[in-house]
Symmetry: C2
Subunit: 410 residues, 2 copies
C-alpha cells in the first residue's frame, strides 16, 4: 500500500514510486536471516555522490548505527554514496561489539558499491539489546549491492518494517522556474510499541542538487512540521533517524531562491508519511490533530499541543468518543504555559465546547457524534492576537495498545 | 478501611483515628444531595483558631475553591477555624458564579461555627463544568456545623470520596522532648480517572502549635516527598489541594528544634495516604516505586524517576510482568537529563538487568517472576558518586484504565 499524498497544490504534485523515484537512486531488498522470513535488509545507493543529511534521536541512549552516522556525516561534510538498513535488530545497547558491527555493515556495503566506508550510512531497527547476525549480513549485503536497481522502492519500504501494519512510501514532483525535480520517501514506525522495538526511520531522496548545509536546514525545517510533530506514546527511541539524500541528477539546483519549494515538497511528502505512522500505530483507531492557536509564539503553541496529544485522559476520551473538553483544558493548563482560562476556547471538530470560562454542554451530543469518526480535530485557542499556531498529530489510546505492550515478550 | 501506617520508627508511632485524632478538631459528614445517595459534605472545625497552610494545583486552570483558599490564607496570614468540603461537584470551570458559590460556602460555614468567612477554607471535588447545588449546600452546611464532634473522622474520609475504591485516613503520634503530639490525616483521589473528576485532596491536622510560616514550610517539605512524588497518569487536576491545620492543643510547640520531628511525622502519615491513592488508582493492580540513584542532584533524580513512572511503555510492561529494562532505560534517556549510558545500572526487585551498556538477559526469567507481585521496585543508578536519590510512586497501566476512561460519560 502506498501513501496517498496531498493533491497537487501550487508547485507540488503527487508522483509514482518511492525512494527510487528521483533520478540517480537505486535500491535492493532481500531476506538475509535476521527475521525468520520477511524482508530484513535494504540498500539504497546513489549513482555518483549525493549530498546527505541526517537528524537523529535526542535520547541520551543512542544505538550504534546512530553514533556511526553522526561520525560519517561529520567526516564527509554531508556526502554519501549509500545507506544500508536492517530490520529485526536495533543494534542498540550492544556495547563495543555493536559499534564494530555497525562499522562492518558500512565497510561491507562500501565494498559492494565501490566507495569509502565513511560514504555509507547505516540504520537498524528492531529488538534492543541483541547483537546483529553478522554472517547473515555479510552474505546479504554482498547480494544486495549486486542487485541494485530502480523501480524496487516498494520492496525497500517493506524491508525496513518491524511491527508496521503497512509500508509507507510516496513521491512528489516539484516545479521550479528552471524545471522540475522529484522527491521520494519511505518511513517505518508504529510507536515504540513492541517490546524494545527501536522505532522511527525515515528516508527522503531527491534528484535536485542541494548543498549539504542547505539540505540539512531543509531536513530540520521539514521534521519540525512533520515527523517531529507526531506522537504515539510520548516515547523517543534509541534509533530514531531521518535521512535526506540529494543526487542532483535532475539538473535542477536548489539555492536560496528555490529553497521554499524544496521545503514545500519535502513537507508535503513527509506529512503523509508521518500521518501514516500515526494511523498505523498499534491499537490506534483514530488520527487526532491537536492544534493550538492564539499562542504568544510557535514554541508555546507546540508545548500545549504536545501536552494535550500525550495526555492519556484525552487519548482515552477520544477513543471513547467522549467530548471531554475538561480533560483538554486541564492538559493545556498543566503544560507549563501561562494563559488566561477566561480567554480560551476549545473546539472539537469545529464545535465550540468551552468559552469564556464556561462549557457549552448543549453541543456535547453533536461533538460525541463527530468523535465517532476516524479523523479528529481538536482546536485550543489561547486567545493571543495575532497568535502563533502549532499542530501535533497523535492517535487514540485503546485497550488494544495496553494488551500489545503488556504482553510478556516471548 | 483505614490505612495501615508505617510501624513505630524512632519518634513516630501509629495511632488510631484520622483527622479528628489530634486534640481540638471535630468533624461532621452527611449526605446533602449533590450526589445521588452517598456522603457528599464534610466540615472540619477547630476549637479556637488553628494555624493553617495550603498547597494548590499548579494547573493554570484553577477551580473556584482553590482561588478562594489562596485569597483567604493571604488575608488571615495562615489561620483558619474550619474547612468545608463537598464531593460530587468540583466547582471548576464555572465562571463568576462558581466564585460566588465558593464564597457562599465559606460564609454559611462561618455562620455555623461562629467565625469570619475568611477563616473558612473550601474544597470541592467531582465533576468539572457543573454548578454547585446551593440550596442543598445551604441546608447541609447548617446541619453539619450543628453536629460537629470528635471520633467521626472515618465518615469525613468517606464524604470526600468520588471514585475512590476505599477511604484513606490515618494518624500518628510524635514524641518530642517536651511531650507527645498527634497528627491525623485523610485524602482522596484516584488519578483524575473519571471523566472530568477533579482529583486529589489531602487534609492533615495536628495538635502541636506551629507558626504559620513553619507549618507551610513543613507542608511543602512533606508534599515533595509524598503527595508530589506520586503519579497515576501524569495529569494534574484543577482542584488538587493539600491542607494542614495546627490546633496547638497538645501543649507542644514546634519550633526549629522540633521541626525535623514534625516533618518526620507528617511524612510518615502522608506517605501512607499517598501510597493508598496510587494503590487505589482505577485499573491499578500494582504499586510501582521508581527510584533513581547516583544522580548529580535530587531534582535530576526526580526528573528521571518521574519520566520512567509516567512512561506508558514501562507501565504496560510492569502490568504484563515483562522485565523490559530497554523501556526503562529509553525513558531515562529521553527525560532531558544527560548521563553516560555505560555507567547506568537497572535493577528490578533488586535483580540486575542492565550494566555497562549491556543487558543481563539471563536474569529476565527471575525478574519476570518478581513482576507478578503486587509491589514493584525499579532502581536506576546513573552512576554519579556520591549521588542524589529520588523516588516516585506510580501504578501499572491496565486495559481496565482505558476502559474506564474511554467510556462515554453518561
Amino acid at each position: 500500500m502506498s501513501v496517498s499524498t496531498t493533491p497537487a497544490v501550487g508547485a507540488v504534485a503527487v508522483a509514482d514510486g518511492g525512494v527510487s523515484a528521483p533520478l540517480g537512486f537505486t535500491t535492493s531488498a532481500l531476506h538475509c536471516g535476521i527475521k525468520a522470513s520477511a524482508l530484513d535488509l535494504m540498500v539504497l545507493a546513489v549513482d555518483g555522490t549525493a549530498t546527505a543529511a541526517g537528524i537523529f534521536t535526542t535520547n541520551v541512549v543512542k544505538a550504534a548505527p546512530v553514533l556511526l552516522c553522526q561520525e560519517h556525516l561529520g567526516q564527509t561534510g554531508g556526502r554519501a554514496r549509500a545507506i544500508v538498513v536492517n530490520s529485526g535488530c536495533a543494534n542498540a545497547c550492544t556495547g563495543d561489539e555493536g559499534m564494530r558491527n555497525a562499522r562492518q555493515m558500512a565497510t561491507l556495503t562500501a565494498a559492494g558499491v565501490g566507495c569509502a566506508p565513511e560514504e555509507v550510512l547505516v540504520a537498524s531497527t528492531g529488538v534492543i539489546g541483541v547483537g546483529l547476525k553478522m554472517a547473515a549480513l555479510t552474505t546479504g549485503i554482498a547480494a544486495a549491492t549486486a542487485t541494485l536497481a530502480r523501480g524496487k522502492g516498494s520492496e525497500a519500504a517493506r524491508a525496513i518494517m518491524t511491527t508496521d501494519r503497512f509500508p509507507k512510501e510516496g513521491a512528489v514532483t516539484v516545479q521550479t522556474p528552471s524545471g522540475p525535480f522529484t522527491i521520494g520517501g519511505m518511513a517505518k514506525g508504529a510507536g515504540m510499541i513492541e517490546p524494545k522495538m527501536a522505532t522511527m526511520l525515515g528516508f527522503l531522496t531527491t534528484d535536485a542538487a542541494v548543498a549539504p548545509d542547505l539540505l540539512r536546514r531543509a531536513l530540520v525545517d521539514t521534521a519540525r512540521q512533520t515527523f517531529n510533530a507526531i506522537t504515539i506514546d510520548g516515547d523517543t527511541s534509541t534509533n530514531d533517524s531521518l535521512f535526506a539524500f540529494a543526487s542532483g541528477q535532475s539538473g535542477v539546483t536548489v539555492t536560496e531562491a528555490e529553497y521554499p519549494l524544496l521545503v514545500e515538497g519535502l513537507v508535503a511528502l513527509s506529512r503523509e508519511l508521518a500521518m501514516a505512522i500515526v494511523s498505523g500505530g498499534e491499537g490506534a483507531t483514530k488520527l487526532i490533530a491537536v492544534r493550538t492557536l492564539g499562542a504568544p509564539d510557535e514554541k508555546t503553541a507546540d508545548t500545549v499541543s504536545r501536552t494535550i496529544a500525550n495526555s492519556l485522559l484525552v487519548k482515552t476520551a477520544v477513543h471513547g468518543a467522549d467530548p471531554n473538553w475538561g480533560r483538554i483544558l486541564a492538559a493545556a493548563g498543566r503544560s507549563g504555559v501561562s494563559f488566561d482560562p477566561y480567554a480560551v476556547t476549545v473546539h472539537v471538530g469545529g464545535i465550540l465546547l468551552f468559552e469564556k470560562g464556561l462549557p457549552h454542554d448543549e453541543s456535547a451530543p453533536l461533538a460525541a457524534e463527530y468523535l465517532r469518526g476516524a479523523t479528529i480535530e481538536i482546536d485550543v485557542d489561547l486567545g493571543t492576537r495575532p497568535g502563533a499556531t502549532a499542530t501535533v498529530w497523535t492517535c487514540d489510546l485503546s485497550a488494544e495498545y495496553v494488551r500489545i505492550n503488556g504482553e510478556y515478550r516471548t
